[in-house]
Point group: C2
Chain length 205, copies 2
């Protein structure tokens, strides 16, 4: 029996969606508390003192304990389930793709979406100057994913794991960030496979 | 009995050092193969095809399989050892700090070191313009760490775990990147504690 779960989130964030999708696939009930990151609601003294000293959502509340970082929260929820492989190498390889997502994918694919679809009218000159680099790095990450998916149904262990959930969250809305998935047939087929999983919920749910 | 372990690395990288430190603390023998990232040796067709399609070190070779991403490699090596907590929340909380390191710490603390100590004479104008932002973000990450360590000996579960190893790697050489640890007494005491662990090896070993 899991303790009460409360997701402190900004619902449109792919990082928050990862946790909701994981919970949905596991049949776990999760309460939601929304913060407007555009209004600085995760940088208030109360948030920093009580939810996450790093000033970021998502943070998963488990009873009276707080767990920041999307991939750590997904891992917590999924332990002992089929979303984490039993094999030692596969389990580490799942974490490898989750690390790849946070380091080589999210700062580019997610940031392009945030800048283009959420704050386009407020971009600083410094941010505008970074767009070509962010786009190039986003395309490099998508190319690595597409290459890995050649001949594979999922990222690790031939079945849906947290690696797929972590990478799905921002990839499936990448085109909102003025990127195109057209060159990546393996990614597009994989997105369809993830969305066809029993229990799947969309980012807007 | 662990399969043959080969670390594909650039020895001065803190990300590579994390894996060597983990192996040393576990008493595991690890072979090392050096690549000069300054000469593009991790972007050759051979490296991309055989070691890591993402063109990055470290990659841990386990028998004939390859595992990129420093934190995933540490997790592989440490499974079943005291470096990973038994408690479910603590284990996820360990991953939380490892995610924090890769997302909120390494791009700033490690990049400052790389720019200042390794390629200072070759910095682009775009990189130079980013230094104030990188410095501010590095200081913000150190502040979060110092605050968390108030009253704690280690990051999670009151003992040395992979969270400490991941954060130690670049923090203990942060001053090479023109940052100062002087304001962070809790971090400095924690660095000493990590270095005093039986089996510890330094980044230059």
């Amino acid at each position: 029996m899991m303790e009460r779960l409360v997701l402190h989130e900004y619902a449109a964030s792919g990082n928050c969606y990862k946790i909701r999708l994981t919970a949905a696939l596991l049949g776990l009930k999760i309460e939601r508390r929304e913060y407007d990151i555009l209004k600085g609601e995760t940088r208030t003294p109360e948030f920093l003192a009580n939810v996450n000293a790093n000033g970021r959502i998502p943070t998963l509340q488990i009873g009276d304990r707080f767990l920041p970082e999307s991939n750590a929260a997904c891992f917590y929820l999924a332990e002992g389930s089929a979303l984490i492989p039993d094999d030692r190498f596969d389990r580490a390889d799942m974490l490898r793709w989750m690390c790849f997502e946070q380091y080589s994918h999210e700062p580019y694919v997610a940031t392009m979406r945030f800048w283009v679809a959420f704050i386009a009218d407020r971009l600083s000159e410094e941010q505008k100057a970074q767009i070509p680099m962010r786009r190039a790095q986003a395309e490099a990450a998508l190319k690595v994913m597409d290459g890995h998916l050649a001949g594979r149904r999922f990222f690790v262990a031939d079945r849906l794991t947290l690696a797929d959930i972590a990478l799905y969250a921002y990839t499936h809305v990448a085109e909102e960030g003025d990127l195109t998935l057209a060159p990546y047939a393996n990614i597009r087929a994989w997105l369809d496979r993830v969305a066809a999983t029993p229990g799947y919920v969309g980012i807007g749910a």
